[in-house]
Symmetry: C2
Subunit: 333 residues, 2 copies
């Protein structure tokens, strides 16, 4: 249990007029306790946190009558519904997301060090992947090799490996399958893992032997968008503004119809966490916030391109935790 | 979208008097759609399923007035609370767990084939691990090698690798760390991964050079409990009864105070799913149900032991999907 984090959390409970916070087995619990034992943790503004074995069981006796109760935003619905039934309609339940986000959104030096370690491990794997024989391999085979490289390069665990070749790269949610990679394919590679609990998330494009027709022009737009968004990160800028900056580069180049997702997302103990780089996000960036910046363009049935780095907002601007070059990597030459 | 699964689900909606089911990005969505796109899927007894981008947005217009609404048991609390607020207090929300469990709990031949493929991949990795040099390696190093072996042996992804040496094996939730493995240590290894979306989950004990003092007697109790529980699996037996059978073997041998968890859990697309082998579970086993059987004994500060296999309930009894021998493996001889 981190006493400093707990103290900050208690202040937030009081500020949000919350009488009890119920955390389930989530990254919030890991942030506070360093582990995620079964059951849940009940935290009140006074008194020690209490760990109970099951949400629907003993939690109710710990909650002050009439208190506003905040629940872990990741608590599964079946636990939440059981808790609601036990507490009855007189006890209002609210999401603890607005309360927990400020607690976790600015990373400490120790947290950033772990994120940098994870980013460097991803960089090493992507650099080593340049030496693969890509032509003739399937997406799944390349993914397998990347998986091993990610572990060898220092990740404690691998969260995901995406390898999407040719037309599959136009699907931002593609999962590696039996598609054979051929000369002339663009291949989107996106990898993620954890070091000491903290996530990496990096995407690069590889062109096999030579880039497909007209690919480089499109790629240079993605690179310009990603660069512009990275360089705009600094304290005081709205998260939504970073999203707009990347979108505008793409829209002005005529590819606006082929944006398929937000520009990025906060990252830390969770793969996806605040601040989200979307038009709706109202967070103002501040030093210590860590986020992915990953604009993409996806031309259906043809190809797609995404470039992704994790950056940390510092007093003087963005520091990119990934160092892998972002110029299009032509492999199998 | 599997039409056959959808038809069965619609019948269940009608039988449970549910006007709409809202699925979030969970294994339930994967089961029905084969993928987990962002947003959620609204399914009603009539009409086609509708995919919407955000729970709090367009879902409400799809839900018949006054209908009982079932929600994905794994929907995160923040989505559920937003949905509740939009629907208002007049629309009762219930967990879809009782509705979805019967849909997924009996696996088809195709599903069992994928689970067997995953189990065999885990077996191969555990068999290859016998050739490791264990003494002098850290838990983390052994975990890393197992990770690679799990992928090489046919898993699409690795879900977890637990390596707990000596006194760490007495903690059922231990995560591999820097503890160096020495001669005379018992080492608990538990691995899991996925093939085609379906999970493996297997645990074996390794003794380095020689078993620790009095370990073998305790181990033989775990083996007897696991064997008895496996052999009791057949249609018509209560899941709770399987739990009792394993517990009774351990209790009768005098280790009852050192049981730390349930005897097992259902497994499939999820690592943990019904039926749970606990005293409270009221499911009656039937052909096609797949579950882990994993009794353990944990002696604090000394050592622990767990043996785990995945079994499928068939008409004539349990079929063990894992084939790795369960006799104590003495390595580094």
């Amino acid at each position: 249990m981190s006493e400093e984090r707990l103290d900050r959390l208690r202040d937030l409970l009081t500020a949000h007029d919350v009488g009890a916070l119920v955390l389930s087995r989530s990254s919030d619990l890991r942030y506070l306790v360093g582990a995620t034992p079964p059951g849940c943790l009940v935290i009140t503004p006074d008194g020690p946190p209490v760990h109970v074995g099951a949400v629907h069981g003993d939690v109710c006796s710990l909650i002050p009558a009439g208190a506003r109760v905040a629940v872990d935003p990741r608590m599964p619905a079946d636990e939440l519904l059981a808790l609601q039934e036990r507490l009855g309609p007189g006890t209002p339940l609210v999401s603890a997301a607005p309360l927990l986000a400020p607690l976790r959104i600015r990373k400490s030096a120790e947290e950033i060090e772990l994120m940098e370690r994870a980013a460097i491990a991803a960089d090493r794997a992507l650099t080593a992947a340049r030496a693969f024989t890509w032509s003739g391999s399937t997406e799944r085979e390349v993914a397998r090799r990347l998986h091993t490289l990610l572990l060898d390069s220092g990740h404690d665990e691998v969260t995901f490996v995406t390898v999407a070749a040719g037309e599959n790269s136009a699907d931002p949610h593609h999962r590696p399958a039996g598609r054979v990679i051929n000369p002339g394919d663009a291949v989107l590679v996106n990898v993620g893992g954890r070091c000491g609990g903290y996530c990496s998330d990096t995407a690069r494009m590889f062109a096999v032997a030579e880039p497909p027709e007209d690919f480089e022009a499109m790629y240079s737009v993605v690179l310009a968008a990603q660069t512009a968004a990275c360089e705009a990160v600094r304290p005081g800028v709205a998260a939504a503004e970073i999203d707009t900056i990347a979108r505008d580069v793409i829209i002005e180049s005529g590819y606006g119809a082929f944006i398929a997702h937000r520009t990025g997302h906060g990252i830390g103990l969770d793969q996806y966490e605040p601040p989200y780089l979307t038009p709706e996000e109202d967070t103002i960036l501040d030093a210590g916030m860590t986020m992915s910046i990953e604009p993409g363009i996806y031309l259906p049935e043809l190809y797609g391109a995404r470039i992704e780095d994790v950056v940390v907002c510092t007093d003087i601007g963005a520091r990119r935790l990934n160092q892998t070059p972002r110029l299009l990597d032509v492999v199998d030459l």
